[in-house]
């Protein structure tokens, strides 16, 4: 067995800080110099990583199968948008019924608006979670789906606050690589830290066996709601970032297909692995664009095969089915990235370990 040399803690901190600074410098440079398409995809990757981690926290780590994530994204997106849009733009956009006071005259900075989005979606998350959390499995799924739909329908109807189906336009484009990947890193850090604390262990205990966990003294109500509210907050901030990326939102964006996309990312990566979620959220976001080739006409051997629009989603649905039927644990199962594993890989020892890990 290799000698364990204690690494000086200050050295670890220095390395991590250095890596982070380098990472953000690269992103800043990239924001200016990479082409807009790459930047957009990378922004979406970062945002979806954060949101999918939120879903994974609730569905994967705590075993509470919630389908309400689109609703929380909507809450966060609208909160951030209404706070960051300028009063002049608001007046132009709300042409059917004017926006209510005081929203119509305030304009906040991006960070306060995002924090507010987290707070508001957290509150909504609690209001949804507190009653819903007592249901198990399928009922929780359909209840949370119901709440998400109620949120969307309410947003479609309350024109003086959300402008209804017309949606919001002219949201300031604050989101850039620093914000979206900052968000992703914060979510990763929060998740990693959380899972190492007693809270994290309690959540996993709830996932594995609720009754046993309660018998061991885990307060179900508190912990389930913790997961639920945190998940809602991450989704809310993600929604806010999304709104300020594409600069326009409307209630029709936040329907069940959006929840399905995030769920698919979580399942493909492994419902219980942070690394898996990070990889699959990025991979699926990129693949969505890369697979456009399936929809374009192809010339093979002189024959023009016309593009079939819609094939991308069919492929993703099939991929999800294959994963859930044959590899239900997803890409990473419930394993995480760790330096030990990388070292073993490098040393070529992984082969002999494969049979044990399976």
């Amino acid at each position: 067995m290799a000698e364990q040399r204690a690494v000086h803690p200050l050295l670890k901190i220095a390395v991590v800080c250095g890596a982070l600074i380098l990472f953000f410098l690269v992103l800043s440079w990239g924001q200016e110099h990479w082409d807009a398409y790459t930047v957009r995809i990378l922004n979406l990757c970062g945002i979806y990583i954060g949101i999918t981690l939120g879903l994974n926290l609730c569905n994967g780590f705590t075993g509470q199968f919630s389908l309400g994530i689109a609703g929380f994204m909507a809450v966060g997106a609208y909160t951030t948008a209404l706070l960051t849009m300028s009063p002049a733009v608001k007046q132009a956009v709300f042409f059917i019924q004017p926006l209510i006071y005081p929203l119509n005259s305030i304009q906040w900075g991006f960070l306060p608006a995002l924090l507010m989005a987290a707070v508001v979606s957290g509150i909504v998350g609690f209001l949804v979670g507190a009653p819903a959390i007592r249901f198990r499995g399928d009922y929780l799924a359909i209840t949370t789906l119901g709440f998400a739909e109620i949120i969307r329908i309410v947003f479609t109807n309350i024109v003086p606050i959300t402008n209804g189906a017309l949606g919001l336009k002219g949201i300031p484009p604050h989101t850039n690589l620093l914000w979206s990947w900052g968000f992703a890193l914060v979510c990763i850090a929060v998740m990693v830290r959380l899972m190492r604390t007693t809270y994290g262990r309690a959540l996993k205990a709830i996932r594995d066996d609720e009754v046993a966990a309660e018998a061991m003294g885990v307060n179900l109500f508190f912990h389930k709601n913790l997961a639920f509210v945190m998940s809602a907050m991450m989704a809310g901030v993600g929604g806010g970032l999304l709104g300020n990326l594409i600069t326009t939102i409307d209630p029709n964006m936040f329907r069940f297909p959006l929840t399905f996309t995030v769920l698919m990312m979580a399942v493909l990566g492994g419902l219980g692995s942070i690394t898996g979620t990070v990889i699959s959220a990025a991979a699926v976001t990129i693949a969505m664009e890369a697979f456009r080739a399936l929809e374009e006409p192809r010339v093979i051997l002189g024959l023009t095969i016309p593009g079939v629009p819609g094939m991308r989603m069919v492929v993703f649905s099939v991929a999800l089915m294959i994963v859930i039927l044959f590899y239900p644990k997803g890409f990473m199962g419930d394993r995480e990235f760790s330096l030990d594993r990388v070292k073993r890989l490098a040393a070529g020892l992984d082969r002999t370990n494969t049979s044990k890990q399976g």
Binding site: A132, D138, I153, N157, V267, M311, M313, M321
Partner: protein
């Protein structure tokens, strides 16, 4: 609101309610035996309408034949889905089966879009169903009588099958516990397949009735009716067929009455179903006619 208007709304409510009831039965039967929300039920309903449509439009079958063929094909489809997507996950955690159901639902909706195209199709409506009838100021067509009557007949027939035949006995045994049922000699797999076949056939009947009522079909039509009918099934007591029918009627009726009494809130109509769901789960989770739930410790 005058009596006449109320009766008109009631007539519309009963028709809508029986449409929901037909779909809800399929949901409740599958849930009763597998404890699985078959998210794909809405899409099975959608595909059945297309089967019927192509039967009349492309194959030029007489409508009676086309409808029967559609029902049979849909029943087969249900069984195929069960074999392919749910059976392999019988022993897996419940969440996997749920995800599989969601996946199948999406796959079918997207396949439908690719194969049938996005533009809606007109469902063939035999004139006999559209004959108008006026009763004391309330305007209906023949179909308004056909649908609830058909639902009632099917309800009676189903209750007979489930409570008075050996197949039904097998289904009910499987609902309680697979292993014990197997020990008693019940072919659990067959019971499940039959459940799916019947549930899907009912979805097809519902689909055909839907097509006859509304005349328009499109690949996205399955999602909302599917959700609402699951809510109806929960409302009536999941696993209970009569409960599903009752739930369907109450939901359909309630939706219409909401808009009738509060037309300014008509935009919230779809939310009504979800609010009902949440309330019933909070107040009486087993539904109106459901059994006490057994939670094994």
């Amino acid at each position: 609101m005058t009596l006449e208007i109320f009766l008109q709304n009631a007539a519309n409510g009963i028709t809508l309610g029986s449409l929901y009831a037909l779909l809800a039965i399929g949901y409740t039967m599958v849930y009763g035996i597998l404890r699985l929300i078959n998210f794909a039920h809405g899409e099975i309903f959608m595909i059945s309408t297309y089967f019927a449509f192509y039967g009349t439009a492309i194959f030029a079958l007489p409508w009676q034949v086309a409808f029967v063929v559609a029902i049979v094909l849909t029943a087969l489809l249900g069984v195929v889905i069960e074999h392919a997507a749910y059976r392999p996950l019988r022993d897996a955690p419940r969440i996997s089966a749920l995800i599989s159901a969601i996946g199948v639902s999406f796959l079918m909706a997207n396949l439908g879009l690719v194969i049938f195209g996005g533009r809606p199709k007109t469902f063939y409506r035999p004139p006999i169903f559209q004959v108008p009838i006026e009763l004391g100021g309330v305007r209906v067509v023949v179909l308004f009588f056909v649908i609830p009557l058909l639902t009632a007949i099917l309800l009676v027939a189903l209750n007979y099958i489930v409570y008075k035949t050996k197949t039904g006995l097998a289904m009910r045994a499987a609902q309680w516990d697979f292993d014990t049922a197997r020990l008693m000699g019940v072919d659990v797999d067959r019971a499940i397949s039959i459940t799916f076949a019947i549930g899907s056939a009912l979805a097809a009947v519902g689909g055909i009735m839907w097509g006859l009522r509304f005349a328009e079909i499109n690949p996205n039509m399955g999602l909302f009716p599917g959700l609402k009918c699951f809510i109806a099934a929960v409302f009536g007591g999941i696993g209970n067929i009569s409960g599903a029918v009752l739930g369907g009627f109450i939901l359909g009726f309630g939706e219409i009455m909401l808009v009738a009494f509060l037309p300014g809130l008509a935009g919230y109509r779809d939310a009504f179903a979800f609010v009902v769901l949440i309330l019933i789960l909070l107040v009486r989770p087993t539904g109106l006619l459901g059994d006490k739930q057994r939670v094994k410790v």
